[in-house]
C-alpha cells in the first residue's frame, strides 16, 4: 500500500450533532487501496495554532466514487478549522497510514464496540466485514440521545445495541454493562472509543478469552514512522501507534488489569 500525498476536494461537510461533523472528500483520481482501521494525516491550512497534521480515521470509503468520509469531533483549533471548510475547497492528505483490523477468514461471532466519536473507523470496518459475508453485531455507547450518531448507518450492517450514560436511549450505563455482553458469546471484538472504554472492553475480552482488537489514538507528529513520537508500551517494547498500529490486539498491550489506569 503505497503512501501518497494528495489534495482531495471537499464535497460535503456538515455537523451531525453539536460536536461532531462529517467531511466527505473526493480524490482527484483513483482512490488508493485502503483498509478498515487505516487513517489519514490532514494538513490544516489557515490555522496558525495547528503546526502539525492531524490524524483522522477513515470512516468510510467508496471505491466507485473515489470518496472517503471522515467523522470528526471538535477538539481544538485544528478540528474547528476543518469544520468550517467549505465545499469545493482542497484538503491535503497523506494516506493511507497505519495497519488495519485483522479480518477473520472463517465465520465468527463478531461484535463491533464503539463509543462517542470512536465509532469512526467501525463503519468502514462493518461494511467491509458485511461485504465479505460476515454478520457482525454492533454495540454503541453514547453520553445521551443527543450524542447518538449514525444509528441508521450501523443498522444497515447488522443488529445494533445501544448504551447511554443517562439511559435516554438504549440501556443505561456503559457499553461493558450492556446485557448483550452478559447474554451472548462472541469470538471476536473490534473496539474503538475513549481510552477508558477500550480498557474496560479489554478486561471483558481478557476475562472471556475473546480475541479483541482496539484502535488507539496516540499523539502523533508524522504519522508514518519517521519520528517515534507516538509510541505505546507493548509486550514487545515501545511500538509506534502510526505504523505498528493504530490497531492493536489487546494481547500486545499491557492492559491486563489496567481499567483504572
Amino acid at each position: 500500500m503505497t503512501k501518497r500525498i494528495e489534495d482531495f476536494t471537499v464535497t460535503g461537510n456538515r455537523f451531525i450533532n453539536k460536536d461532531i461533523f462529517l467531511l466527505e472528500l473526493q480524490a482527484e483520481g483513483k482512490l488508493a487501496d485502503l483498509k478498515p482501521g487505516q487513517f489519514v494525516q490532514v494538513r490544516v491550512d489557515g490555522s496558525p495554532e495547528t503546526f502539525l497534521r492531524r490524524p483522522l480515521s477513515i470512516h468510510d470509503a467508496d471505491f466507485e466514487r473515489n470518496t472517503i468520509k471522515l467523522l470528526v469531533q471538535l477538539a481544538g483549533k485544528g478540528t474547528e478549522t476543518l469544520s468550517r471548510l467549505q465545499t469545493g475547497r482542497k484538503l491535503n492528505l497523506i494516506y493511507p497510514l497505519g495497519n488495519s483490523f485483522t479480518i477473520p477468514e472463517q465465520d465468527e461471532k463478531i461484535l463491533l464496540i464503539g463509543g462517542g466519536c470512536g465509532v469512526a473507523p467501525l463503519l468502514f470496518l462493518g461494511k467491509h466485514l458485511k461485504s465479505l459475508g460476515h454478520s457482525p453485531e454492533i454495540l454503541l455507547g453514547f453520553r445521551n440521545r443527543e450524542r447518538m450518531i449514525e444509528y441508521d448507518e450501523y443498522m444497515s450492517i447488522g443488529p445494533v445495541s445501544l448504551a447511554t450514560e443517562d439511559g435516554s436511549v438504549g440501556e443505561k450505563g456503559f457499553v461493558t454493562q450492556h446485557s448483550l455482553l452478559a447474554g451472548k458469546r462472541f469470538n471476536r471484538i473490534y473496539c474503538c472509543g475513549p481510552d477508558r472504554m477500550m480498557k474496560a472492553v479489554a478486561q471483558y475480552a481478557f476475562a472471556n478469552g475473546i480475541s479483541c482488537e482496539v484502535s488507539l489514538e496516540n499523539l502523533m507528529a508524522c504519522g508514518f514512522g519517521a519520528c517515534l513520537c507516538c509510541v505505546v508500551d507493548t509486550v514487545d517494547g515501545n511500538q509506534c501507534t502510526c505504523i505498528d498500529g493504530p490497531v492493536f490486539n489487546i494481547n500486545k498491550l499491557k492492559w491486563q488489569n489496567s481499567e483504572s489506569a
Binding site: 502539525l52 507528529a221 519517521a226
Partner: protein
C-alpha cells in the same frame, strides 16, 4: 544550472541538502514519497551501542510554530543496525550518515569503532547534544571539558568524516565549535533542539512524561541562524546548519550566514517532500540570481560586510 556540489572534509556531497537525525527514520519511511538518493545525504536516527526503549509516552507536544519531543534515542542498537538497517540503506546512492550517541565516553568510542568498519557509512554525526537522555547527551555538549574529551577519543578511533552535532543550550556556541575544530572534527552541525517545556493547563501536568524536551521547528530558526552565523565566523571547518528550515528561503538564509550544507528536520514530518522541494528551490534561487554555484553564496553576508568595511 548552478553547481550544487559541496565537500565536508574528504567527503563529496552532490548537493548540500541533508535530512536531520530523528526526523527521517532510517530513510525507508520516505521511499513512497520521493527518491531518497536525490539528496546530498541522510542522517539516520540516533543510534547507541545497546538497544534503547526511549522515554515513556507522551513524548511529543505541539507548540507555536514548533514541537517538543522527548523520544530519548529509542533505537535497536548497533547489532540490529548492522544486520537489518545497514544492508538496506547501503543501496541508497547518497551519503548515509549515522548519528552516534552514548551515555559514557566509552560508548561513543565503541560505537564509532564499530561504524568505522562499515564501508557504506562515510561519516558519523557525533551527537553530544541530545536533551532527552538522563546521562550523556547534552551533558557532553554543554561542558567544554567533556565535549573535548569525547571528540578527541572518538577522533582517535574513527578515520572517516567526523561531524560534531552541537547543543544550542550554551552561553557561547563558538567555544564548542572551536573545541570541535581543535580536536580534529571535519565539521560541526547545529543546532540540536533547544531545551523547552510545556504544561497542559487543563490537566495541570507537564505535557511530556519527561517534563522537559527538545524544541524544534520554525520557532527556533532565528536562534539557529544566529548560532550558525557565529560558528561559521569562528571556525574554518564547514558548518552544517539546521533548525526550523521549512522553505527554500529558510535554507538560503543559512547558506548566506555561512552554512556549507543544511539539514531538514521537523519540516519533513509535516511535508515529507520538504527536502527535495528545497533542493530544487536552491537551484532556482542560484539561477535567478545569476550565481554559478552554491559556494558563491556560502557566507555571503559575512564577505559582504568585510567588503563594505
Amino acid at each position: 544550472m548552478a553547481e550544487l556540489g559541496i565537500s565536508i572534509g574528504s567527503l563529496s556531497f552532490k548537493n548540500p541538502v541533508i535530512t536531520a537525525s530523528g526526523t527521517f527514520g532510517n530513510g525507508s519511511e520516505f521511499d513512497d514519497f520521493f527518491d531518497v538518493s536525490r539528496l546530498g545525504g541522510i542522517v539516520l536516527k540516533g543510534t547507541t551501542l545497546e538497544p534503547r526503549e526511549g522515554n515513556s509516552y507522551p513524548r511529543m507536544a505541539e507548540t507555536a510554530s514548533g514541537m517538543l519531543n522527548s523520544v530519548g534515542l529509542q533505537n535497536k542498537g548497533i547489532d540490529y543496525f548492522e544486520k537489518n538497517i545497514y544492508p538496506r540503506v547501503s543501496s541508497y546512492n547518497t551519503n548515509v550518515i549515522v548519528n552516534v550517541n552514548g551515555s559514557y565516553v566509552e560508548d561513543y568510542v565503541a560505537l564509532a569503532e564499530r561504524i568505522n568498519k562499515l564501508d557504506r557509512i562515510p561519516a558519523i554525526e557525533l551527537n553530544i547534544s541530545c536533551p532527552n537522555v538522563k546521562t550523556g547527551g547534552m551533558a557532553f555538549g554543554t561542558n567544554p571539558e567533556t565535549a573535548r574529551e569525547v571528540i578527541r577519543k572518538v577522533r582517535a578511533v574513527y578515520s572517516r568524516v567526523l561531524i560534531v552535532k552541537l547543543s544550542p543550550n550554551v552561553t557561547d556556541i563558538t567555544q564548542f565549535a572551536r573545541i570541535s575544530e581543535e580536536e580534529g572534527a571535519d565539521s560541526v552541525s547545529l543546532i540540536n533542539t533547544l531545551l523547552g517545556m510545556a504544561i497542559d493547563a487543563a490537566a495541570m501536568k507537564p505535557s511530556l512524561s519527561t517534563v522537559t524536551g527538545g524544541l524544534s521547528g520554525p520557532a527556533v530558526k532565528p536562534v539557529a541562524l544566529r548560532m550558525v552565523w557565529q560558528a561559521a565566523n569562528a571556525v574554518k571547518i564547514p558548518v552544517i546548519g539546521m533548525g526550523g528550515i521549512r522553505t527554500v528561503n529558510d535554507a538560503i538564509e543559512f547558506f548566506l550566514a555561512g552554512a556549507t550544507a543544511v539539514q531538514i528536520g521537523t519540516a519533513s514530518l509535516i511535508e515529507p517532500g520538504t527536502s527535495v522541494d528545497i533542493l530544487e528551490g536552491i537551484g532556482e534561487y542560484l539561477d535567478s540570481k545569476g550565481f554559478g554555484s552554491i559556494s558563491e553564496i556560502i557566507g555571503y553576508i559575512n564577505r559582504k560586510q568585510e567588503r563594505t568595511i
